[in-house]
Structure formats: C-alpha cells, structure tokens
C-alpha cells in the first residue's frame, strides 16, 4: 500500500477541485450536530468532529427511495423507472467505522443472489475518502468488531491527521487514480510515517471497551428461549432510534403512495423494534412484544448476520449507546450475554 501526504493548507483547494468534477459530500455543522451533506466549497467541510448524528448509510440506502412510478390511466398505463445517478460522488471525511459499514451493507445489497440495482448504482459511482479517528469517543468500540480508528475497509483513501499534514493511505486503485490527478500529494516521508504510527497507537489504546463477539455469537446460539430477554428488554421503549441511527441496520419496507391513477413505489427504512415489522396479514405476530423485538435486534447483529456472512452487523460506532432515550447500552447487553 502506498502512503502519501498532503499539507493541511492544501486540503481545501483539493476539495475545491474535486467539487468541480464530483458531487462531494462532507461533514458539516448544523445547529449542534454534524450532518453529511453536499458541499459547494472545500471550506465548508468540518474536519474536527467526532462523528455525524445520522450514519452515512443514507448515501446508498436513503430513508425513502422511489423504486419506480406507475400510471394506471388507460391511455398512459405503464411504469417509469427512476433515473440513476449521473454524476460520480465522493464522500469525504467519514469515519472508518462508517466506511466499514458499507462493506457490511454490500453483503446484503450486492453480495448474494439478489442484486439491489439502486444501492449498487450509487455505490459504484461513489469514492470514499475516510478520515481516521484520532480521538475515539468513550462509546466507541470498533476494535472489538474487526475495525479500528484507522481501519481501511470500505475506504478508497484514508487520511490520518498528524498535525500540519495528513498522511494519505492509498487503499484502492480508484483511490490511486484520484491521487495521481492532483499535485497536492507527495510521497510520505519517514518522519510523517513515524508521527502517523504514534497517532494510531495512541488512538487505538484509548479504546477501553473490549468484547469478544465470537464468544457472544457462541452464547447466542443457545439463547433464543433464555429468560434473559425478558430482563434486558424491560426498559426498552420500542422506538427505532437505535436501528435508524445504526450504520449497518438495513431493514426496509416497501409502500405505495398513490394519488388518483398515479402512484409511486417507495422503499422506506423499517425497524425490528416496531410492532408492525413482523405483523402478518392473518393478524398473527411472531414477535408480539418488546422482548422478541429486542432479541431480534441483538440476534440479527451478533448471530444471524454472522451465520449468513461470517461477520457481525455492528461497527462499534456507539450511536445507539449515545442516543438511546433510556440508556439501554448495547455494550452492557453484550457483557450480560457473556455472563449467562
């Protein structure tokens, strides 16, 4: 892997050049939180932040997405496919945990028999430039999930802040091509790489919480009927703050929005926390209470996804921990599972 560097002063002009060619999405401050949105000037990008309130999965899997439109009127009857994205996009400045979530989502939307054209189209046309995490939050536990504050999975380029400059790890060919076109980048020297290693070690060591997710999986294999789920779910409100703010949760529903003869078929996020999620047309609900729904969330992340794809569906970003209205902390749940 090639390691380059770029001076901090040159970054804005680099972004400005990118904007002329790509749709560039970057973290931007909005009121008190940070959101990913398209920027029109390099100086808009916020580089000193911990993470965005909402995960960037929306870039590929928006909360609402039109799959197609239709017209039922006799003369115009037919289906209209949505236009696919025309412009190439760049997501700049996302955290390595979130970049890694794309790789997990890939397995669902483009890895198996069923290929999701909407997701794949956006994914193909997007270049990911991640920004390493010099100061992980106390709620971060990426290192337990096979990631880390400088994990490369899911990124084309990874920037590491070493003070006056960024070391740029060139991860994919796509990333290399981009770098070649821009003169702001230089080969990283030994001094920069030394500083980088120090930054990396410090950040990694600062992540205190560790959990063995493989042991969790082994426990979960035999825990479907465990009374544990009654206890752990008792305070859960049954809202979807955790799943909607999760970078890897990907369940969806499909609804029709119809006005007169015209309609749209829309994919929307859905959540296992909701009573309607598994409600069947017969009226029977196999997950009738919060207990079964909490169990599903944990099982899907740490057992079923592992069974299906060999990896847990969690990147340890900590959003669900910070935003749960009742402080139902997934780290505590994982610890309790290990204690069973």
């Amino acid at each position: 892997m090639k390691e380059m560097k770029i001076a901090k002063n040159d970054l804005v002009s680099f972004l400005d050049t990118l904007i002329t060619e790509y749709e560039v999405f970057a973290p931007v401050k909005k009121d008190s939180s940070v959101v990913f949105q398209e920027i029109y000037s390099g100086s808009e990008a916020l580089l000193d932040y911990s993470n965005s309130q909402k995960p960037p999965k929306e870039m590929f899997f928006p909360q609402k997405e039109r799959l197609f439109s239709y017209d039922l009127s006799p003369k115009k009857a037919g289906i209209e496919e949505p236009l696919l994205a025309e412009k190439q996009r760049i997501i700049f400045g996302i955290r390595p945990c979130d970049a890694r979530s794309f790789v997990l989502l890939d397995r669902v939307f483009s890895g198996g028999v069923y290929k999701d054209i909407y997701y794949i189209d956006k994914r193909k046309k997007t270049l990911v430039i991640a920004l390493g995490c010099n100061r992980p939050k106390s709620t971060c536990f990426c290192t337990s999930l096979g990631g880390g504050p400088f994990s490369q999975e899911g990124s084309d380029l990874l920037l590491i802040d070493i003070g006056q400059e960024y070391v740029v790890q060139v991860i994919t060919d796509k990333g290399e091509e981009l770098i070649k076109k821009h003169k702001e980048f230089m080969e990283a020297d030994e001094q920069s790489l030394f500083s980088m290693r120090k930054v990396v070690d410090t950040a990694e060591a600062s992540i205190k919480f560790r959990v063995d997710v493989w042991k969790v999986k082994e426990k979960l294999d035999g825990m479907f009927d465990d009374p544990f789920w009654d206890l752990v779910s008792e305070k859960c409100l049954g809202c979807s703050a955790c799943t909607y703010l999760c970078p890897t949760c990907h369940c969806f529903d499909v609804v029709d929005e119809v006005i007169g003869q015209r309609g749209e078929r829309i994919r929307i996020w859905d959540s296992c926390a909701f009573p309607n999620f598994t409600l069947q047309t017969s009226g029977f609900n196999p997950r009738p209470t919060i207990k079964e729904r909490v169990r599903q969330r944990i099982m899907h992340k740490f057992k079923y996804f592992v069974d299906n794809y060999g990896v847990a569906a969690c990147v340890g970003c900590g959003r669900c921990i910070r935003e749960c209205p009742v402080n139902l902390d997934i780290r505590a749940v994982l610890n309790s599972i290990l204690e069973r």
């Binding site: 909360q63 939050k137 106390s138 305070k235 909701f274 910070r322 935003e323 209205p325 009742v326 402080n327």
Partner: protein, 322 residues
C-alpha cells in the same frame, strides 16, 4: 441542607423504602433509576428482589418519565416518581389504565433534571468523561478540561417552567418539599412564538420537523401515548404516509399533540427522547396552553377531575364554532 448531603440521602432513603416494600411484600416490583453507563445518565431499573434495592439512585439525570412503564402489569408496583411522573400517574388512573391501589408512589420533590443536549452545546463537541453533582453545580471532566457549570442553567426547558415539582399525590414522600416555581410565566415562550408571522412559524416547523426520522421515540417515551394501535401504524385504512415527507411527519406530530390535549402534563419526555433534538414541545405546549385558557384545566392534578374533553358545560367557550 446542601445538595451534597441531599442527593446521597435521597438515594439511601429510596433504597430503604424499596427494600422494605419488597420485604414486606407490599409491592412485587419497584421501578426506579440506577446508575447509567454514561456520565450524566441514569437509567430506568426494575427491582423485584429486595437485595437489588442497593442499585437505586437519585440525581439530576433521572430524566425519564417512569409512569410510562406502569400499564399492563398484573403486579403491585412501587414507583419512584418526581412531580411530572406523578402527574402522569394521575392521568393514567383517570383514564382507567391503572388503579390507585395498584401503585405505591414513592414521591420525590424534584429540583429539575439536567439537559445533556444543552451541556453538549456549551461544551462544543468536547466529550464528558466524568460528571459529578456537587451542591448546585455540575463538575464535568473530559480530555484536557474541567468545567464547573451551574445546574440551574442547564435544566430541561420543561423543568424550568414546571409548577409541580412536588408530587401532587404519593404514598410516601422522600426528602423535603422544594419551593415551587411560582413566579415564572410558563407560556411566555409560546406566546412569543404565536406573535410571529405565519410565514415565520411555518419556517420554524418546516426546519424542526424535517429533521424527524420517524423513530417514534417521542411517542414511545410518552406515558400517555398508549393507543392499542397508533394511527400512524394503522394500515387499513392507512391514515398517513410512512415516509419522511414533511407533510406526513408534521401530521404525525400535530395529531399526537392534539391527541394529548387535556392529558399532556408537559413532562418533556418526548423532547428528551428525540435523538434529533426536535422541539416537539412547541406543539404540545400550545395545546396545553389552550386547554388551560379555554377550560381552566390542568392535567394530572387530581384523580377526581373530569378530563375537559370528556365532558361539557353549557357555558363552554365556543368561539371556534362560527
């Protein structure tokens, strides 16, 4: 008595009370708060064994409304309840979701709960790693900083205007009653908002509610949002769209606020639960203010009050019928 003495004392008294209630089998379950996993965070807990009563705590981060957990239980329940929780319990009793006999109210006079979002704003992104409550202050520590903040300044908005800090009913009261917030005009902010032009108000609602992700944390945190099937979940007929289109999102919030008319006690649980920081109370408080002005009624004061929308008087205001 200063806060330093007060807080541990109240926690101890809560533990003793809970332990005794469980040992004497006066209740099967005590719902209270235990230490949370994050600084400035307490979390609801459910105690069935008197030995576990040790876990119970009381501090300025016991912000959840525990009345939300009372319905549909067969057990006799002891509940740690501050002013707003008790008002919600009163409403639940009035609405026959609960009998007075089924709950043992461990009432706690409340000095208000601190708003983490306000503190985060003040700290401008710096993460709190340790927090300590001392007297009227919060001592917050993080990477390379220590900040001492005045608790009063960082209370939830609903706590700042709350006029029922002392529980209106209880079986046992823990600690001394606190001074009520008589002086403040609780609806001043709503009146100011109403004075704005329609365009300004619409812009505010557009900006606020376009952030909504339809997670329903507000609805689910609300002790009085307990419909068997919420209208947003109904699919036959489907009353509103399921996407995050502003029109659908707004309809959800407006209908929820109207459905809480004469019932909402302004505990602020909806606001606190919202992960997107939306000012939901702008809607619920307007409805609450109208109910107070039109019917001279406040929810959650007495179990004997008849809810204003469940009765009528010949002299009820009817300016709206034109």
């Amino acid at each position: 008595m200063n806060g330093d003495d007060l807080m541990p004392d109240i926690s101890t008294m809560i533990r003793d009370t809970a332990r005794k209630l469980l040992e004497e089998k006066k209740v099967d379950l005590v719902i209270g708060f235990e230490k949370g996993t994050l600084p400035l965070r307490s979390t609801p807990c459910f105690i069935r064994n008197s030995k576990e009563a040790e876990k119970l705590v009381w501090n300025a981060s016991c912000e959840n409304n525990l009345a939300r957990y009372l319905r549909k239980r067969q057990e006799k329940i002891g509940i740690v309840a501050k002013g707003c929780d008790v008002r919600s319990i009163v409403e639940l009793i009035k609405e026959k979701q609960l009998t007075r006999e089924q709950v043992f109210i461990i009432g706690i006079p409340c000095n208000g709960m601190v708003d983490r979002k306000k503190i985060d704003l003040k700290l401008n992104g710096r993460e709190i790693l340790e927090a300590e409550e001392k007297d009227a202050t919060l001592i917050l520590k993080g990477y390379n900083f220590t900040e001492t903040l005045d608790k009063e300044e960082f209370l939830h908005d609903s706590c700042r205007t709350c006029k029922y800090r002392n529980p209106v009913i209880y079986d046992v009261l823990i600690g001394n009653k606190v001074a009520e917030n008589e002086g403040t005009d609780e609806y001043e902010e709503i009146r100011q908002f109403e004075a704005k032009s329609a365009d300004e108000r619409w812009q505010f609602f557009t900006e606020e509610f376009s952030q909504c992700i339809r997670c329903y944390a507000c609805r689910n945190a609300c002790p009085l949002c307990y419909c068997q099937e919420c209208f947003v979940d109904n699919s036959q007929p489907q009353w509103i769209g399921k996407t995050t289109n502003l029109s659908d999102t707004l309809i959800f919030h407006v209908v929820r606020a109207l459905h809480a008319a004469g019932r909402c006690v302004d505990c602020g649980a909806c606001d606190r639960a919202c992960p997107m920081g939306i000012d939901i109370r702008k809607l619920t408080r307007k409805v609450q203010m109208d109910v107070k002005q039109l019917f001279h009624y406040e929810a959650g004061i007495s179990v004997d009050d008849i809810p204003p929308l469940a009765t009528f008087n010949l002299d009820d205001p009817q300016e709206f019928i034109k």
